[in-house]
Amino acid sequence: MASDRSPAVTLDAVGRSFPGKTAPALADVSARIAPGEFVAVIGKSGAGKTTLLRCLSRATTVTSGTIRFDTTDLARLRGGALRAHRARVGMIYQQFNLVRRLPVIDNVLVGRLGRLRGWARWAALGRRFDSRQRAIAFRCLDHVGLLDHAWQRTDTLSGGEQQRVAIAKIMAQEPAVVLADEPVASLDLSNGRLVMQTLRRVASTVGITVIATLHHVEHARNYADRILGLKEGRLVFDGPATRLTDAALFEIFGEFVAEPAGRAEGEHQLAAS
């Protein structure tokens, strides 16, 4: 089963407002994300980054405008089609969301659940997978460098290792788009970098679209092809990292952010928390 081609993701005047709130979480966001692009979404806390990601994963629905994966309007998905959409979208979470008490390899196998058919679906209820599924899972785990930890309980791993297990799980899932919500926000800088490198390497290898919300502007600069800057729900920056000037950062974050030029290692907690 080959991974299906990444769709073109089209956001057309997307808005999301919540009842009881005067200001919308997202307003008039338009962008077209080409297949295979690595996009970082940056902005302050509450700027709408997570809401945007939740609209893309269809954890929630837009209240105005449309989001399309190729020609499919996400707002119209129901039941089986919605589950098929979720299987096509790989999610990476800040808190990893792995089953903590299960062995590492079982968490990678969870990625296969959406693709099982017939008897294999029932066998999986007893956590039994055939040799082909297991082979896929072990190869994915090897790819993120954690094969030796396959039988360890997942909660014995460090945060950085758990996030790499989550990446292996995504690889097993074979999604068409990866959505990462603050994938490195709870990791230290060097582990965060390792996770970003792994994610970038996987994305480049299979040519898959990645949309990640990121706290650290440096991570966005180093790993993303393109940066979207959100401020109060509106898109205020859209361009390559090279165009992310001090002025642009000031526009996004609403305060002066000193970025030492030429230093890839700067640890700047930029989003005001």
Binding site: R88, L98, R115
Partner: protein, 271 residues
């Protein structure tokens, strides 16, 4: 002794806002409790003086128990084994009752609020009705004997374990469930991977606890025809066969202690 904090600790106290008074509420609560307890004492015919005066009678009653009679010990030991089997199968049956009810009665898993409500109410009824009442009911269907006792225990304990299970499920980490659902897995897969590994250790511990409790219930359920040692306990005490009754009580104590040891071994090995 003056420390670096002297500049904060020294000087006059700031204007302190008035502390809200709780005296009235404390007084009212104490009075209410006293009145309720006094009324309840009348109802239960609380007469401590009588107990002090006639406490010697208990000694006379117990005298007969100092000489256990081992004439029928083989039969009683067999009945103890029957009792353990009643509790064992009662616990198995309670699993069959509690797992589906517990899943449907957990707010975060239930397919519909009505199903949730129905499952919760069924469990309420199973818990509210004592196992002895269930035993009397099943005796009419399957006759006197261990089978009726096992059914009664299983149904009643099923209600208890079901409630414990659904409350354990409601307290699981939703992130781990979301992580499974997000790959496009079906509802049963979410339960198998996102829920069961999280609730299993707690639930197993509850099951063992209820098994120990079922052993104690099974040892008396024979009084209402549910089989096991309970019938002999009731019969020997009622017919003043003190020596025999003493033997039965000794055996029950030994049985409960053995089961507690075994189940704590299992607990340590499995959890």
């Amino acid at each position: 002794m003056s420390t670096a904090f002297a500049s904060i600790h020294g000087g006059p106290a700031p204007p302190v806002p008035a502390k809200p008074s709780t005296t009235g509420r404390t007084l009212a609560a104490t009075l209410t409790a006293a009145v309720v307890l006094a009324l309840a004492a009348r109802v239960v015919e609380l007469r401590p003086l009588e107990l002090a005066r006639d406490i010697g009678n208990i000694g006379i009653f117990l005298k007969g128990y100092l000489h256990p009679s081992f004439a029928n010990v083989g039969e009683y030991a067999w009945q103890c084994l029957v009792t353990v089997c009643i509790a064992l199968w009662g616990t198995v049956l309670s699993l069959a009752v509690s797992v589906p009810l517990g899943l449907l009665g957990a707010r975060n898993l239930s397919p519909h609020p009505l199903v949730y409500f129905a499952a919760r109410r069924v469990m309420d009824v199973l818990r509210a009705v004592n196992e002895f009442v269930f035993a009397l009911m099943f005796v009419t269907a399957v006759g006197l004997g261990p089978f009726a006792g096992m059914l009664a225990l299983g149904i009643h304990t099923g209600g208890i374990l079901g409630k414990l299970l659904s409350e354990t499920i409601e307290s699981v980490d939703p992130g781990q469930m979301e992580g499974v659902a997000a790959v496009g897995a079906g509802r049963l897969h979410v339960i198998a991977f996102g829920v069961i590994p999280q609730v299993l250790p707690n639930f197993l511990s509850y099951v063992l606890l209820r098994f120990e409790s079922d052993i104690r219930s099974a040892s008396v359920i024979g009084m209402v025809g549910g089989g096991g040692i309970g019938f002999y306990l009731w019969d020997t005490i009622r017919s003043f066969k003190d020596g025999e009754a003493a033997t039965v009580i000794l055996l029950i104590v030994a049985m409960v202690m053995c089961v507690d040891v075994v189940s704590s071994r299992i607990r340590r090995a499995a959890i």
